[in-house]
């Protein structure tokens, strides 16, 4: 049984790889369709291997359920999954993301006006970013209660430093010639900021914003392990593990992966629109 399982899994892997290799090296490799097809086939291959191995090796569903079981649980629990998504992602993660982003921008502009402050704030910010979430989450829950506010606070602290560092780096990224040009126009600090330096900083800022999207998601979910109302993705995951409902855990993981990828993709799309002039956006 084990032998059959491994051989069939490898066969599926081989088939998937073969198809992908042909597609990637074909003439149509640059087309939109192929760019979407190849990762999709890769993912599908992994899912088929998973299903085969779990079924043939008779792995207990309370350790690892097969993808078909997860899919059926996903479709039957959509209202619950949606309520959890609202609580954790929209109320917790998004609020924290926006708060952290605004705070980071404000501090970056403040630091920009003073070299002294920049030198002081960056190492301290780095220290703050190094505070592990397993320690900060219970503390924020104690201060702000169990509802989404404490999760937003955790997220804001987590995303603050990456956005700050990237914004500061971006604000520095103008050449002397460009800054001189603004001076010849008689532009003061604020017009220069808004017309030259902020637009020039956008590629860096978006780099930070993209990194922050995954951090926000993870922060909100993990924070719910330490106290939450009876709704939320982190709550559902931890109680489902306790109830041995592993298929629900994986359904929530699918929601997290979809939400995270969508959020990241949204940021990347906005980046494409705002920084259309940058070399990295050349097709």
């Amino acid at each position: 049984m084990t032998g059959t399982a491994i051989i069939s899994a490898l066969a599926v892997w081989g088939a998937g790889w073969f198809v992908n290799a042909r597609l990637a090296n074909s003439a149509a490799a640059q087309s939109r369709l192929v760019k979407l097809l190849v990762p999709a086939i890769f993912g599908l291959t992994l899912l088929i291997m998973w299903e085969l191995l779990v079924r043939l090796l008779e792995v207990s569903p309370i350790i690892l359920p097969p993808p078909t079981m997860i899919a059926s649980r996903f479709s039957s629990e959509l209202p619950t999954l949606w309520a959890d998504f609202e609580q954790t992602i929209i109320k917790g993660a998004m609020t924290g993301y926006i708060v952290g982003m605004i705070a980071a921008f404000a501090v970056a502009i403040l630091a920009d006006r003073s070299e002294f402050l920049t030198k002081g704030i960056l190492p301290v910010g780095g220290f703050m970013a190094a505070l592990p979430i397993v320690g900060t989450a219970p503390i924020f829950v104690r201060w702000l209660g169990s509802d989404w506010q404490s999760k937003a606070a955790v997220v804001a602290v987590m995303v603050f430093f990456p956005i700050l560092v990237n914004t500061v780096a971006g604000l520095r990224d103008t050449t002397a010639m460009q800054r001189d040009l603004m001076r010849t126009y008689g532009a003061g600090y604020w017009p220069t900021l808004f017309k030259l330096r902020l637009p020039a900083a956008m590629p860096f800022i978006f780099n930070g914003l993209k990194i922050a999207t995954t951090l926000a998601l993870i922060g909100a979910i993990v924070a719910e392990f330490f106290g939450s109302p009876t709704v939320g993705m982190g709550f559902r995951i931890s109680t489902s593990v306790g109830q041995l409902a592993l298929d629900m855990v994986w359904a929530e993981i699918v929601v997290a992966a979809l939400a995270g990828s969508a959020f990241y993709g949204l940021m990347a799309w906005i980046e494409g629109r705002v920084t259309f002039w940058h070399p990295s956006q050349r097709k």
């Binding site: 192929v34 760019k35 990762p39 993912g43 030198k119 320690g135 855990v249 992966a257």
Partner: protein, 315 residues
């Protein structure tokens, strides 16, 4: 967070101290309103006059409002056993006590727990970095891998590790692997992605002219890798290593929860939180952050030294 803020030495010490000082001041001042409700409850039980005099009525006041009405309780807010916000000196005393005043091999020493977490971190970091570099090389040299693996690597980072960790631990436990290795696996999961992203960017950073030059030397693909792509990727590698080591530490701490919270910073934070000893939690929290900052600093120094040796940076 590299040369400018670290290499300046004395020049950057003063700004850092100023900012740290400002934060400490803010912290010390915040202790009063944060702890005021608990202090008022405690004072009332000791028959000290409190305004207003029932807990239910006090619920309507904010911390600051309550503090302004009970200035005689200010001193007490700094000496609570279970404060909502410990004062800096309380945290410092706890850290001193468990780092310096305890035998390094004792279970009550934060140094011992630091080593437990650090060992999982370093092993996980080594695995994650090795895997990340291999994946990056595969992505750069194989188009099928490039198109198929990258989106899934990004998606893998959106999966909450705290949900996967028990599964990984149980599955590894069922084939007899327990102890350090499962924690290192979780640690590696969090650190491989920054390394992949950084190395891919780095391995692709040589420009067309440099690649052409190698072609004129009739260099093979392998020679091109070792002599051009790999050296060119070193600055990007170090940037990724610094993010990766931080992520590894977070992963190691997270991994301590599903492995029985036996030892390490995460275990201390959890048990301290659970058994009403907030000082233990805060001390472990700061110790973990200091460890991360030290590790990142170590890589910064390594980066400067290596780049100087490779001639990629003026002294």
């Amino acid at each position: 967070m590299d040369e400018e803020s670290r290499g300046g030495g004395v020049k950057s010490l003063l700004p850092v101290l100023t900012v740290v000082g400002a934060i400490l001041l803010f912290w010390v001042v915040s202790v009063v309103p944060m702890n005021m409700h608990l202090t008022a409850d405690l004072a009332q039980r000791q028959d000290i006059a409190v305004t207003p005099d029932t807990p239910a009525a006090r619920q309507d006041y904010s911390g600051i409002g309550l503090a302004l009405r009970n200035t005689h309780l200010f001193g007490m807010t700094y000496t609570l056993d279970r404060p909502r916000l410990p004062s800096p000196h309380q945290v410092a005393v706890e850290m001193w006590d468990t780092i310096v005043m305890k035998n390094v091999t004792s279970r009550r020493s934060l140094v011992y727990h630091g080593w437990v977490t650090l060992s999982a971190t370093l092993l996980g970091f080594a695995i994650g970095t090795g895997l990340g570099i291999l994946l990056a090389v595969g992505i750069v040299y194989n188009r099928a891998m490039d198109m198929s693996v990258m989106p899934w690597a990004i998606a893998s980072q959106t999966i909450p590790i705290l949900a996967l960790a028990p599964m990984i631990i149980v599955m590894l436990g069922s084939i007899g692997i327990q102890g350090l290795f499962p924690k290192a696996v979780i640690s590696a999961y969090l650190s491989f992605f920054p390394v992949v992203v950084g190395m891919v960017k780095g391995l692709r950073s040589p420009d067309a002219m440099q690649l052409d030059l190698l072609r004129t030397y009739y260099a093979s693909s392998a020679q091109g890798f070792w002599k051009l792509r790999l050296p060119a990727s070193v600055p990007y590698l170090f940037a990724s290593l610094k993010i990766g080591i931080s992520a590894s530490l977070v992963g190691a701490i997270v991994a301590e929860l599903p492995t029985g919270a036996r030892a390490g910073f995460g275990a201390r934070m959890l048990v301290g939180d659970q058994y009403g000893q907030p000082m233990v939690t805060w001390a472990a929290l700061f110790a973990a952050a200091l460890t991360a900052a030290t590790l990142v600093g170590f890589f910064s120094v390594m980066e400067r030294w290596t780049l100087r040796r490779m001639g990629m940076q003026a002294t």
